[in-house]
């Protein structure tokens, strides 16, 4: 990819600790990662490796029982956001950074129409936006995510949408304020394979067309191999290996990465079964 592209996000030594009734746990232990302009970076690992907690820690989306520390979290145009207060974070979320979570129905408000959700989002970041203007923008955004004839969707509620449609709406919302960086946490897990392919084509297309960047968290090595340029492999709260997808997926250096890739069932080959 671009060898000297501008750095959009630079995270150094990110650590998360969470106080639980059984004591403090440390799901993320000193993670470094960088996202450059126009780049899709995948974060991959198995349940509990800290991949979701990492991006939630960057966006300060974790609960009050958690503590996030970092040497720095540098976001292009905003400087080091590691010490930002909740109010400062509110100006960044949505506008500088869009977030697409795994479950679209958890992201959408069940008792607001879709139209109103576009309105609330815009009202929060721009004073004086009219409902009519908001509706125009919402219609354009829904068209942009492949929803032809968005009127019915705008007037309806989340529960009336299929999983794939709901995720399209979430992607439209996440990109409405034109953030330069998108975070996606397992955006297609739970969707059918054909819908997954459509959504990933859509979201990566949005990144490429608009010169955005994306940090994509997934447990699916296929998503990494087919849609990302660089990959960060996490295990036990730490980054065990990172590099270009070609390098890491084709000739993994770390034994955990090798084992993970060996676990993908390949026809006619013995499974690499860890004991």
């Amino acid at each position: 990819m671009n060898s000297v592209a501008e750095t959009i996000l630079d995270v150094r030594n990110l650590a998360v600790s969470i106080a639980t009734p059984d004591g403090v746990v440390n799901p993320v232990k000193g993670v470094d990662l960088t996202v450059r302009k126009g780049e899709i970076v995948g974060v991959v690992g198995e349940s509990g490796c800290g991949k979701s907690t990492t991006i939630k820690g960057v966006l300060k989306l974790l609960g009050p029982n958690s503590t996030v520390t970092a040497d720095k979290i540098e976001l292009a145009g905003h400087g080091d956001i590691s010490g930002f207060k909740p109010r400062q974070m509110n100006t960044i979320r949505g506008r500088a950074v869009g977030f697409v979570a795994q479950n679209p129905f958890g992201s959408l408000n069940p008792i607001y129409t879709i139209e109103r959700q576009f309105y609330e989002l815009q009202k929060a970041h721009r004073t004086g936006v009219s409902k009519r203007e908001s509706r125009e923008i919402a219609r354009d955004m829904l068209n942009g995510v492949g929803i032809v004839g968005p009127e019915r969707v705008l007037n309806g509620y989340a529960h009336q949408l299929s999983g794939g449609m709901a995720q399209r709406v979430v992607i439209a919302l996440a990109t409405t304020l034109s953030p330069k960086l998108l975070f996606a946490d397992e955006p297609t897990t739970g969707l059918d394979a054909t819908v997954q392919a459509q959504i990933l084509d859509l979201i990566t297309g949005l990144v490429a067309d608009e010169g955005r960047s994306m940090l994509l968290v997934t447990h699916d090595l296929g998503v990494i191999a087919q849609y990302c340029q660089r990959v960060v492999v996490m295990y036990g709260g730490e980054v065990v290996e990172q590099g270009s997808v070609m390098d890491v997926m084709v000739s993994p250096q770390h034994s955990y990465t090798q084992q993970l890739i060996g676990s993908v069932p390949k026809s006619g080959e013995k499974l690499n079964v860890a004991r």
Binding site: E46, S47, G146, I147, V148, G149, P150, E151, R152, V153, N155, G156, Q160, L161, S162, G164, M165, R168, D192, A193, T194, V195, Q196, A197, Q198, D201, H219, D220, L221, G222, V223, I224, A225, Q226, Y227, V245, M246, M249, V250, Q259, L260, I261, G262, S263, V264, P265, K266, S267, E269, L271, N272, V273, A274
Partner: protein, 283 residues
């Protein structure tokens, strides 16, 4: 004759909402599974693949058609005979935890099929066989007294498998048995299933939406779309030379973990997932 003979099975569910259309989950489905063979059913949500798996065990009744297991027509078996037949046909579900009684110890869960089908064995013998089968699926004997909630997802699924095989069934339906498991755990469970089949010559009906998994484990694949099997073929042939347009669509949606292999996703004309998008799915 095959061990499992499913012929022209039809199942329609009543509409969920008044005035809605009934759901034609199975529209005349025929499929055979031989001893020692793994046949996968692939398809997407709503294709009818799980319904077919349930019908094959008579966990649901079908409207018409025939299902023979080892020569017995199970669609018409009386309660008592059906109950006896169940020792021969077992199931492993997708969500291991949800399919295990959270208040029963692992040993008691695994013992249940024997207590039902072979009560004459007696407590000591049943206990012995429970420990044998636990060993076979890779569960330490010490876990017999644990509750399901104390086990990891992979271990829970081993319990589900142990319970399914303890009555020595000849036919096993595996309904997405590895879909909720992490990759490395999935590999362990798949390897276990393959090993058990090698020993016992069980027939597997493997319901899945994961192309990597079915490519690895199955001998033949049936592709379901909207309640019909659109294509059945030996695994290699299906992947190398898919016959039906929908199969090609499914194959194009699979994401290879090798970045050197590229598939461009191609929708096909009859694809409802695409139609939903173009009309706005706010029904």
């Amino acid at each position: 004759m095959s061990l499992v003979e499913i012929t022209d099975v039809v199942k329609t569910f009543a509409a969920r909402q008044r005035g809605g259309d009934p759901v034609r989950a199975l529209r005349g489905v025929s499929l055979q599974v031989n001893e020692g063979e793994t046949v996968a059913i692939i398809g997407e949500s709503g294709s009818g693949k799980s319904t077919l798996g349930k019908a094959a065990l008579r966990l649901i009744d079908v409207d018409s058609g025939s299902i023979r297991i080892d020569g017995d027509e199970i669609t018409t078996l009386e309660t008592r005979a059906l109950r006896a037949k169940r020792a021969d046909m077992q199931v492993v579900f997708q969500e291991p935890f949800e399919s295990l009684n959270p208040r029963l110890a692992i040993g008691a869960i695994i013992a249940e099929p024997l207590q039902i089908h072979r009560p004459e064995l007696g407590t000591t013998e049943i206990r012995k066989q429970v420990l044998q089968v636990m060993d076979k699926v890779g569960l330490p004997a010490a876990q017999a007294s644990r509750l399901p909630g104390e086990l990891s997802g992979g271990q829970q699924q081993r319990v589900g498998i142990a319970r399914a095989i303890i009555s020595r069934p000849r036919f096993l339906v595996l309904d997405e048995p590895t879909s909720s498991l992490d990759l490395s755990i999935r590999a362990q469970v798949l390897a276990l299933l393959a090993e058990l089949q090698e020993e016992s010559r069980m027939a597997y009906l493997f319901v899945s939406h994961d192309m990597h998994t079915v490519e690895w484990i199955s001998d033949r694949i049936a592709v379901m779309y909207l309640g019909e099997i659109v294509e059945t073929a030996p695994t290699r042939q299906l992947f190398d030379n898919p016959g039906h347009a929908y199969t090609r669509t499914l194959l194009s949606a699979r994401l290879s973990a090798d970045p050197r292999e590229r598939h461009a996703y191609k929708a096909f004309a009859g694809d409802t997932t695409v139609r939903q998008v173009s009309t706005g799915d706010a029904s």
